[in-house]
Amino acid sequence: MSAATSAPPRPTDTKPKKSKGLNAGQGRLGLMLVAPTMLFLAVIIIYPLFKAIQLSFQKDAGLDPATGLFVEGGNAGISNYTHWLLQKCGEVDCPPGTLGAQFYDALWVTLFFTVVSVFIEVILGMWFAMIMNRDFKGRGLVRAAILVPWAIPTAVTAKLWLFIFAFDGIANRLLSTVGVNPQLWTSDPWAAKFAIIIADVWKTTPFMALLILAGLQLVPGDVYEAAQIDGATKWQTFTKITLPLVKVPLMVAVLFRTLDVLRIYDLPAILTNGGGGTTSLSMLVIKQIRSGFHSASALSTIVFLLIAFTAFLFIKFGGADVVQRPPKSKKKEPAAAPGNPVAANATTPGA
């Protein structure tokens, strides 16, 4: 949260002057209109978040190992965090196999899913978008059909791929036709990871393609004509024209996908149930809930910080302009966006 709020503070110094003249009292009315939404979110989302942070600094109620008496918890300091980050179970290192010892495995596998899935989705999505960015028969049908994998519930996706990756399922049958031995897709360390990545890529690539396509269609055709006349190669056209023009929508799409995969739960929970080392961070939180609220809170706070930090990096350095400001006026005239709503949207990507 802090990451996103701290990102676009630029216009605060110029805006009050601007809005004062236009319509006095407008700010207060606007605030009243936004207030119910803010309040609702504060109660259902923000309060539990702070509660989780508070819980993460407390001890689980239970038997005190030193005295043998039942204790009500109390201040735990940062011990719930060192439990995960330094793998400390009390005074000793967490024994292998316990949830605490799985933290780094879960962290790495979540990061692995994120990097590999998003990378494949961007490359494939770009490619799909390029071939769809032209007129052909049944284009409308293709666009509708391609939404289906995205729209269906992830629980359905997971079960669907469970069939496909069953030992005597389609995937292994296809592999056997090219002479590859059948894989244990839900328990083998590599096969299970790729089963999840394949299912995730299947679910989101078409959608990524549609988003990139929406960006591509904003590029005027005469730009490409001009490039062709100037004798630009296909690769030059792609890197020098297409890529810069779709950069902003692409970065926003990548940001959202990245944050989604970082909290991935449904697919590994149903498809492999953590088999083959596919327990993601979110899955680890849920497993931990059953054996201690407070260290689960610490873990969930760690996940939150990881995601907030990633979002911050994207917005700060990656050019993911999530607040939909007109790209040109972003630096020079920050007051333009609040002043004129129509103009602010004229350059908005993705129309």
Binding site: M1, I146, A151, S300, A344
Partner: protein, 271 residues
């Protein structure tokens, strides 16, 4: 190679890609209509006489109740999100609040929130209030989860309302309510519909919160599917049928409103 031959090849390639991507769904739908013995057989048959046994068995497992819960939660959540989002989106676009960007950042940051970080306190709070396994409570939580996206999407549509129209209405003495309901809303109706649809789809598909905050009475379809006895073995047809039923509403919704959906989603609601 001539231009038209090349174009034909690319079109064919596009269609092959689409079919590859669509095949698993197609296969699931077909399996739902197979008798169990054929569906689970190692040697798949191409031709078979379709039966609805799979669907009947899915219903026998109490799927109707889960579907009703899913509908209740999704519709209620969507109403909550839309009712709260319209004034907020209006304030953030046409009638600009001070610090629009901080308000927007606040919304978008709750969209980034990992549900794993809030679900635990939420569980404890609801447990203390006796509101666990309550479908309306689940709907309220969904409403909050979908609210940022709904505000976000609606705002992008509201921004396209020509300011002159709003100004003219104000000059004519239209009050706030009139301005929103009579002037602005009719212009942004496709956007409101798209945002409502997104909220519905997200709620319909939600698995994580439903698994944790419901157990029995308020259980929705996704956790029911998730806990469905393993796909390996003899339940392929019935599970395919159940999955088809669960996917049908959102497939239809996506099909009908795909243009609006893509437009709305490219504003930052990719999921």
């Amino acid at each position: 190679m001539t231009r038209s031959v090349r174009g034909g090849l690319v079109t064919t390639l596009t269609w092959v890609l689409v079919l590859v991507f669509f095949f698993p769904v197609f296969w699931m739908i077909i399996n739902g209509f197979k008798p169990e013995a054929i569906a689970s057989s190692i040697h798949p048959k191409v031709f078979f006489s379709p039966v609805t046994t799979g669907y009947q068995l899915a219903m026998d497992r109490g799927m109707k109740g889960y579907l009703i819960n899913s509908i209740t939660a999704s519709v209620t959540a969507t109403i909550i999100a839309v009712v709260l989002a319209i004034p907020a989106a209006y304030a953030l676009s046409i009638r600009r609040v001070k610090n629009v960007e901080s308000a927007l950042s606040f919304f978008i940051s709750t969209r980034f929130m990992p549900m794993a970080a809030v679900v635990l306190p939420l569980y404890i709070i609801l447990k203390n209030l006796g509101l666990l396994d309550n479908i309306y409570m689940l709907a309220v939580v969904y409403g909050a989860v979908n609210l940022p996206v709904t505000v976000w999407m609606m705002r992008s549509f509201f921004l396209e309302v020509p300011f002159e129209i709003v100004e003219a209405a104000r000059v004519d003495g239209a009050g706030l309510y009139r301005e929103i309901v009579r002037i602005v809303l009719p212009l942004v109706l496709p956007g409101v519909a798209a945002a409502a649809l997104i909220s519905f789809i997200f709620s319909w598909n939600e698995y994580f919160l439903a698994t944790l905050l419901t157990s029995n009475a308020a259980r929705t379809t996704p956790p029911f599917l998730g806990s469905f006895v393993d796909g390996r073995g003899q339940f392929l047809a019935v599970l395919s049928a159940a999955a088809t039923i669960a996917a049908l509403p959102v497939i239809l919704a996506g099909w009908v409103a795909q243009k609006q959906l893509v437009r709305g989603l490219s504003m930052g609601a990719i999921k």
